[in-house]
Symmetry: C2
Subunit: 550 residues, 2 copies
């Protein structure tokens, strides 16, 4: 790999890719376009881009006044509200870093994140004061800014400011500095299943380029209405509120919501005319259940990116009945997050309907700005044949090149000249059309007799059985085959004692070869979980490590 | 204006915005998508992105072999062919600069451009050999590469190579270097009406960011079919072939064509199923005439950006009848070129049909990445009221910050902190919705009694009169009012001697106030033109400078 410098250009290349330009332009050209935010009372706050930009200017000026400086890290503990949105401009706008604090993490992990990043101040939603108060004694933040809809509540926190006071007292004519585009604008810590979270610091350059990629990928137009479902503390909430703002779309922030009570969210989608959103099966599955439980049949018109895990076919087809088109997208905290999304390329029109659905379940093809490589265990490229399983290596404009101040960087990246690849840890195939299919976490793949078995495939097919509530498959050391699959199954209440191991194996035999079947299926009451609610395969592997050795 | 550096990011910000990545990705994910190019014989060449990328790799390796180095300027004299397209990747790909040579310029100007840029080699389409041979003795290019469909024709040029030989002898596995993104990838010289052309050198960064803006603005999808109508030697041919390649669209290059014979172009649009193109009224008006002259009624499905001058309403409505939706867009050589394009914003749905058409004639609102200011003669901002006329100042990621090695830079830019504005020379209004309307070249505005009169508005309304073939209005010094408009009119053959000055003034009175009317209308046989075919107002002003003084 060579690096060359060419001839001097005359274009304004010092003009910086800055996030604040996104909101400034929306305030200029779409001043009256609405922003709707659900308050804790359930009421809807309505304002617009012009007012948002003014509030952001006021807020940024107040932050400077209370001693926040460029390059400071500023944490946020919040639900998806208009204030969190404002902070995504105000904090990077003045040159500081918005630190996304994942409130679903264990408090010890939140403490780790705050201290590792040396967060100087923390914004706290009023409903999250107990959490902030619990971690405050263990962290070094100097200031807390409370985001309350009404009067400031009582709190044990010290050096407390009111968000709305800072806005009201701020300077509406504040001029944002030009920020070097390589400065971090936001930061998010990944919640791995092992060890402490790892810090990814997104440059403003990366965030703006990522926004332009998303803008085209999901094709936002000024007529669109975007709802922010993905928690904004999770990989920039997938960042779609940035391109939605570029595109001049109306924005809808649902505030706090739970997957066990999606009525208010669905009603908001209907009443505000939402056309674009993003989420994961973890929310879209209960949303489908909710929609199907209604007496009436809501008719929506939404394109929805679905990430995190493969969207079940029944979910995609079911939601389409209600006008929600699920588009599979893929990414990670380390990739800002968008790597690829699914669309049917020209030349594939002649596939059968069922083949098209199978294509739609794949993760898709990478957007311009991101490159992938399918690598074997030695880092050598594997063919794109839809069969070879390898680890997905990723690089590009908005892919992280290291973990901040973390020795684990060494194991997660591969040097390639003066560039590097991020090792995603995802095991994938890539077909001859370039469509990526994630088959497992690389470490969860089961290596049996020199061949890979996908634990995820087995799990997905197990839960498709009517009796199965939850399934988890892990590779367990085996004297002859190196590893063999062991399945754990939680049976639905009404099927307890009524389904046998043989029945489930028969079910699996419809899809899998004999050597891919689990040697044993264990019925359990529950599957151990990590702090973010995923199955803890590490726990199971550790606990059952001698199972096939006995 | 302050400049701040923030906290270190971990994203791969050294990953460069390089043009070659556009074609590489298309070859990877849309390998079989077609590229269609009309050869000089009229036959259509069909190949695809995979083959184009291989040809570009071969060509780039050969260029290195024959002594082209990074940073060298390499001229191209060509029509809109697939080879010109390949050069837009091969030359920047290896780190050199593609110099667009406007074959419509006077040969003396082409010589100036070649020498000012110190072009080391020049690519010549076989049909343009006479032009190349005419300028060769006066320029310092060391090599000529001839682009011929068949055998290499005889030529007086020395050090001649065959394009196809360079391709065939090249290395299909050539690895492109990573090029510093601030290196110039292409260059174009503006053909001003005064003095020598001025050089704009576009960085690869600017060109890639511009491509992403266009990609979203015109919304290219893989199903689209893009036809390159704008000459590729003119402001990067508006650059749309770059986003079309990102989007995976099929590409159509019409080769050499003339506005007096648009049949082959229209047939190509129909037979290849073109859905996206761009051009100017100079081509769309004759295209409409051609379409209306046919016995059959072609039914196309094209969205077409129209730039350069305001699209006449009758042209927009007429083309829509044939399925060509004209979208007004605006830019300049200095702006890569896209500044803005027209679309109806939410909130304007309730305008009447005629009001909507009036909106569509405006230049539109700037895309993300470009900022504008409406400035008075002292550089102070004017209100956006749709009435105040000022000069349009422009800056942004793909706006030039200087003219290469040219003292005229001083007069064309205004410093603003460590940034600067480019003074477009265009006189404009901006309405309360942010829509820009160009009313004239600033220097062609007529200042009468302290008020501005748009020469372009008067001209447009004059040509709307059935008897008028061509009209030109200039400001002439006046003892009392500083300047007063003087109109020159060429009457259509069949109306000669049948239309009076009073009749035309009556026509203008329907639209203009008394003080805006020309004091005199002169009937002339022709209007003097510049080398690029525009009315030479400078000539008329000079010739008639004492007209109102006598």
């Amino acid at each position: 790999m060579r690096y060359v410098k060419g001839f001097t250009a005359t274009t304004m290349d010092d003009y910086q890719l800055n996030l604040i330009n996104i909101l400034k332009r929306a305030a200029t050209y779409f001043p009256d376009r609405e922003i709707v935010s659900r308050l804790h009372s359930g009421e809807l706050l309505r304002y617009n881009y012009r007012e948002a930009y003014e509030r952001v200017r006021r807020l940024a000026s107040s932050l400077e006044r209370i001693g926040i400086n460029p390059a400071d890290r500023v944490g946020v503990l919040s639900w998806n509200t208009h204030r969190f949105y404002e902070l995504f401009f105000a904090i990077p706008g003045m040159g500081a870093v918005l630190l996304e604090m994942n409130l679903r993490l264990h408090p010890n992990e939140i403490v780790y994140v705050a201290n590792h990043s040396k967060a100087k101040a923390i914004f706290v939603d009023e409903t999250l004061l107990p959490l902030a108060e619990a971690i405050a004694p263990h962290i070094k933040a100097e200031k807390y800014i409370i985001m309350a809809d009404g009067d400031l509540p009582e709190t044990k926190l010290e050096n407390v400011y009111s968000y709305e006071d800072l806005v009201n007292e701020g300077d509406p004519d504040y001029e944002f500095p030009v920020v070097d585009e390589r400065s971090a604008g936001t930061a998010c810590y990944t919640s791995g299943t092992t060890g402490n979270p790892k810090g990814v610091y997104y440059s403003q350059r990366a965030l703006v380029l990522h926004s332009l990629a998303e803008l085209h990928a999901i094709g936002i137009k000024p007529e669109d209405v975007y709802m922010q479902l993905v928690p904004m503390f999770h990989a920039n909430g997938w960042g779609l509120f940035y391109p939605a703002t570029i595109g001049g779309a109306k924005l809808v922030f649902p505030g706090r919501y739970g997957v066990d009570n999606l009525g208010p969210v669905v009603e908001l989608m209907e009443s505000e005319g939402v056309t674009v959103t993003a989420g994961a099966p973890a929310i879209f599955l209960p949303m489908l259940n909710y929609l199907q439980s209604l007496d009436r049949k809501p008719k929506l018109n939404v394109r929805a990116w679905s990430g995190a895990t493969e969207p079940p076919l029944a979910m995609m087809k079911g939601l389409l009945e209600f006008g929600i088109e699920v588009i599979h997208a893929y990414g990670a905290t380390e990739t800002t997050p968008l790597v690829c999304y699914n669309f049917l390329k020209p030349g594939l029109e002649n596939l059968s309907e069922e083949e098209k659905w199978e294509m739609r379940r794949k993760q898709g093809i990478p957007v311009f700005g991101v490159e992938v490589m399918l690598a074997d265990e030695n880092g050598n490229p594997l063919p794109w044949d839809g069969k070879s399983i390898g680890e997905l290596y990723i690089r590009g404009h908005w892919v992280t090149g290291s973990y901040y101040n973390d020795p684990r960087t060494i194991d997660s990246f591969v040097e390639d000249g003066f560039l590097r690849w991020w090792k995603s840890g995802d095991a994938a195939t890539i077909d001859e059309h370039g469509y990526i299919k994630i088959v497992d976490r690389f470490k969860d793949l089961i290596k049996s007799g020199g061949e890979w078995i996908s634990s995820v495939d087995l799990e997905n097919y197990l839960v498709a059985h009517p009796a199965v509530l939850e399934a988890c498959v892990v590779g367990i050391p085996h004297p002859k085959w190196e590893e063999r699959p062991l399945a754990f199954v939680v049976v639905k209440e009404e099927f307890r004692g009524k389904v046998t191991k043989e029945e489930l194996l028969d079910h699996l035999r419809q899809r899998f070869a004999k050597w891919q079947l689990p040697d044993e299926i264990l019925f359990v009451d529950e599957i151990p979980k990590t702090s973010v609610g995923k199955a803890s395969k590490r726990t199971l592997r550790e606990q059952y490590k001698d199972f096939y050795m006995q």
